[in-house]
């Protein structure tokens, strides 16, 4: 009989003996792969879509000249248009326009239609119908998404905020969804400059080169013309910008993918190992019958690969379904609001799908490799003896390798991020986890050795049984340790983050009431007169106003937030959560600014650094007096004393304020008074400190809710692994139970014995996973969080939540063990002892 035929026959036999045993590892790897693949597909599709949208906006431009959001003087445009090699230059003014009462501003691209259509030919078709009206001073084209949000159709009017006054604009036409999937408005550049008070300003120039012109030459000749703060680059950069904006939330998902993949991999390893152990006598028989050692080893690995292949294929299919569902339900946004522009269609990539399938089968093959080697190397004579399935497993204890891996993990944790992604950090987590898992057999042996002698027979038997099979116990624990420790680590990180976040909120939102004009946009402001009016309203004890505006420091990077507020070096420590500060002015006479931690990482602006801020009125030299935590803005922020900002930029308007109320004042009355006082009152966003806190924390919790849900799934999969191990062991031990029943153990006592084994085993697993999770959380808090969010948090452990989690897991394990024990006892004891083993 050929080896292949032999294996097919044996598999068929195994399948008939217990379909569940063969199905479960396949399902386990399918779930693991599905989790990872779904996370990947959702992420990838959303980003892809954004990138395409960005490309469409930039059209077929070869080069893009970009300035700060305040823009640059339009004289630059004719200079560039005249350059040799430039075929078309299209001037653009991009502004985020504030809408009264809307949570998000409307991005408006203002352009010269004749030049723009030569760079983006598609645009002509889009606006052709309304071209005649295009030059009307208040006309705008809207994308479908924007029109839906504004509930405005062609010919309708809607209001935008300019300064502190509303203006009405008219919808000239709608842009097709395929060309402009995001919320967007397109206007004539002259009209926009006029309407938004940006006369003579541009933010961008799209450039198409003469065919055959050398990009590098044109690039450098443009560069010579550029004033400070304006850059030229190829348009691909927009996608980087987006990637960095969504980075924070992707860390979450990457961790999840890691949890999914590691849990899946370890589960496959465990199930394969146990399956091979259980089959040892049968495998020994094959060896005795003439299957070579290498042949056996290869066959077992092949078996693992095949199971992995089936599981991974199922997993990718399942992952696609889940991803499609998630994209539809969440519109490509897994809870963080970061990808709000994506429309939710899923891009399917055959190559990536194949990669997932390959990864799944490789993991399964690896999982089979170790036990296969051991099984093949085992002397058939020994293995054929009764009782061998339980005995003498894993005599080579891998603790040394475990310590080495953990050491390597520790070293990786010290390495910096690669392009803002903490790759080494993730590597460190994986190595620490793998290393720690290798320590499990030794730790389990020690722990079991230290259990005191028990008087009650079922307990004594349970301890003896576990002591006699440490290796199997450890293998069975691997998957649950992997998933539970990662869950513990994530829980600690999220809790630490939340605690630090709350402390931060208390510092930065100390006042009773916050107000903000036209939430995120930059066109709406309050004048100094409005400011004084608000501060004089009855019930307002004290007020403080801020100007918050985006500041582009470097091309391609997300603009940082510049916050001009009343602050000086004496009060800085109370107003900001300072992490680093330099005392004293030193030799420098420059005005102080404070920067968020992200600025230190992204721009190297440490305390003491002298920096230049490209403000609207010109460059301002300043010195960094300290670094603070800013959980509100991951792209970086700069705090500048308001007086310094106003005198340097000539901009004395404000768009945010904090109000401290008199003790007797009624918040609702004050709010009403403010709204009545201001002509733009409806557009003001007024929130009490408690509301700000609630909203922030709700957003925070929502962002992590999906994480918890998916992690719970991972732990569930781990638990599934444990119960399958327990159930299959219980089945294999039926003869033992039968004998115990013969010599006088009650049915209940056998079940007690099994439950005790289950609880003891999982207690070991849970303790180990708690400790390991604590260790991993250090890597998460101090390396992965720090490197990807660019802000620091203080370690805080959610003791209660961890205790509840651990208890839940123990109870679940006890129940599982009891159930599988009952199942094993359901066949009568009489027949069990007759089974030859």
């Amino acid at each position: 009989m050929s080896p292949l035929r032999l294996w097919l026959m044996l598999w068929r036999a195994q399948w008939h003996e217990g379909p569940l045993r063969m199905t479960v590892p396949v399902l386990a790897i399918a779930l693991g792969i599905a989790l990872a693949a779904a996370v990947y597909f959702v992420n990838h599709s959303a980003l892809e879509e954004f990138e395409q949208a960005a490309r469409r906006l930039a059209g077929e431009a070869d080069l893009v000249v970009r300035g700060p959001s305040e823009g640059f003087a339009e004289d630059l445009y004719p200079q560039i248009a005249k350059l040799e090699g430039v075929a078309v230059a299209s001037p653009v003014l991009a502004i985020d326009v504030s809408l009264p009462g809307a949570p998000r501003p409307l991005p408006v691209i203002a352009l010269d239609p004749f030049r723009a259509t030569r760079v983006q030919p598609g645009l002509l078709g889009e606006i052709a119908g309304g071209l005649r009206g295009f030059f009307e001073p208040d006309g705008i084209f809207l994308s479908m998404r924007a029109a839906d949000a504004l509930e405005a159709g062609t010919g309708d009017r809607f209001e935008v905020l300019v300064g502190n006054a509303p203006r009405s604009v008219r919808v000239l036409g709608l842009l097709s969804d395929t060309a402009y999937p995001q919320a967007l408005g397109i206007m004539d550049i002259a009209a926009a400059q006029w309407m938004f008070g940006r006369l003579g300003r541009l933010t961008r120039i799209d450039i198409r080169l003469v065919r055959g012109a050398a990009l590098a030459d044109v690039h450098s000749s443009i560069e010579l013309l550029l004033p400070a703060g304006v850059t030229v680059a190829a348009p691909a950069i927009d996608s980087d910008r987006l990637a960095s904006a969504t980075r924070a939330y992707r860390v979450n998902l990457s961790m999840l993918a890691l949890v999914a993949v590691l849990t899946g991999a370890f589960l496959v390893l465990a199930t394969q190992s146990l399956a091979i152990l259980r089959r040892r006598p049968a495998l020994a028989l094959l060896r005795a019958l003439g299957v070579t050692r290498g042949g056996l080893e290869r066959a077992l690995i092949a078996e693992g690969v095949v199971l992995g292949l089936i599981g991974a294929a199922l997993g990718v299919a399942l992952g696609l379904l889940v991803a499609r569902w998630a994209m539809r339900v969440l519109a490509g946004d897994l809870g963080a609001g970061q990808l709000a522009g994506a429309t939710g269609s899923l891009a399917v990539q055959p190559l990536e799908m194949l990669a997932f399938v390959a990864a799944g089968s490789v993991f399964a093959g690896l999982g089979a490799w170790l036990p296969a080697r051991e099984a093949a190397a085992r002397s058939p004579a020994l293995a054929l003896k009764s009782g061998d399935a339980q005995a003498g497993v894993g005599t080579t204890r891998p603790w040394r390798a475990g310590l080495i891996l953990m050491g390597l993990g520790g070293v990786l944790a010290l390495l910096p991020a690669i392009q803002g992604v903490p790759l080494f950090g993730y590597g460190a987590v994986a190595l620490l986890l793998t290393g720690a898992v290798l320590l499990v057999p030794d730790v389990a042996e020690r722990l079991l050795g230290s259990v005191p002698a028990m008087r009650r027979a079922p307990l004594a038997l349970a301890v003896a049984q576990l002591r006699g099979s440490t290796a199997q116990v450890s293998i069975g624990l691997v998957a649950i340790i992997a998933s539970f420790s990662l869950m513990v680590a994530m829980a600690i990180m999220v809790h630490s983050f939340r605690e630090s976040f709350v402390a931060w909120l208390d510092t930065v939102v100390p006042a009773d009431m916050q107000l903000r004009v036209g939430q995120v946009g930059s066109t709406a402001t309050l004048t100094e007169t409005d400011e004084i009016a608000v501060s004089r309203i009855e019930g307002v004890a004290r007020s403080e106003f801020r100007r918050v505006l985006p500041l582009a420091l470097r091309r391609g990077a997300v603009p940082v937030a510049l916050i001009a507020m009343p602050i000086d070096e004496a009060s800085a420590a109370e107003r900001l959560v300072l992490v680093k500060a330099v005392r004293g002015r030193g030799p420098s006479q420059l005005p102080p600014v404070w920067v968020s931690e992200a600025m230190v990482d992204l721009y190297g602006w440490g305390p003491g650094t002298e920096v230049v801020l490209p403000l609207a009125g010109g460059d301002l030299a300043a010195r960094v007096a300290g670094a603070y935590r800013d959980y509100g803005r991951s792209g970086g922020s700069i705090v500048i004393p308001r007086k310094v900002y106003a005198s340097a930029s000539g901009d004395s308007a404000v768009n945010e304020g904090s109000l401290w109320l008199a003790r007797t004042a009624d918040a609702a009355a004050v709010e009403a008074a403010i709204r009545a006082r201001a002509p733009f009152g409806e557009a003001l966003q007024i929130r009490t400190a408690a509301e700000v806190r609630d909203i922030s924390l709700r957003n925070f919790d929502r962002a992590f809710a999906i994480t918890y849900a998916l992690e719970a799934i991972a732990v569930f999969i781990g638990l599934l692994g444990v119960s399958v191990a327990a159930a299959s062991t219980a089945l294999a031990r039926r003869a033992e139970f039968g004998m115990l029943r013969h010599i006088g153990l009650r049915r209940r006592q056998v079940v007690t014995m099994l439950a005790a084994e289950g609880v003891l085993t999982s207690a070991i697993g849970v303790c180990f996973a708690l400790l390991l999770g604590g260790l991993l959380s250090l890597a998460l808090v101090y390396v992965i969080n720090r490197q990807s969010f660019l802000w620091s948090i203080d370690l805080a452990v959610p003791w209660l939540a961890l205790a509840v989690l651990a208890a839940t897991l123990l109870i679940a394990a006890a129940i599982t063990a009891t159930l599988s024990g009952r199942a094993a006892l359901s066949g009568d004891a009489v027949r069990a002892v007759r089974e030859d083993w």
């Binding site: 009782g387 339980q390 027979a457 006699g468 006088g744 153990l745 009489v830």
Partner: protein, 230 residues
Amino acid sequence: MALLDVKGIAKRYREDRPPVLAGVDLTVREGEYLAIMGESGVGKSTLLNLIAGLDRPDKGSIRLDGTEVSALDDDAATLLRRRQMGFVFQAFHVLPYLTSAQNVGLPLVLLGTDRRERDSRVAEMLAAVGLGGTGAHYPRELSGGELQRVAIARALVHRPRLVLADEPTGNLDPRTAGQVLALLQAQIRVGGGAGILITHSLAAARTADRILTLTARGLESTGGVQQGGP
């Protein structure tokens, strides 16, 4: 006086098959060692299981020392086995994760015998079956004959009134089988209990005081090979 009194028991597993046992009677006196022979599948093990209270007869009565075994509930039957019976199986069924001493000591642990007495009885029993000094060995270090001797020690360590041995030599070579049977017989005698040996080997059966054969018609005395009592 009869230790075990089996009267008219019948057992049928499946309605579509003839009954395995029909009207079997058996009396075992105190201290008597009995062999039951019969073809494979005739119902020998079934009979033993009914006597042990592991299964219930459809008809008839089984009295051990006056107690109706077939009327006991599962727990009571378990306690009866724990105190009054010892078992030896064809496949040894020695727990692989316990040492031979621990395996032998199991019944005493279940009975709550205190440690000191347990240790000394186990050592005594191991010595009696010729395994003195191997108490710390694990089953995988022992041969088949040695494993069955551990099982015999376990079956007798708590001085049961009735030892039930179901083909205890089925997995052993003839020489070892002979030794094991002699040991079993001797130890039952020493302990003062009764024993039922199930076997299909005549040579094995001859170590008993009396030989019965189970057939479809019931238990029959096998004349001619019967040996006298001691």
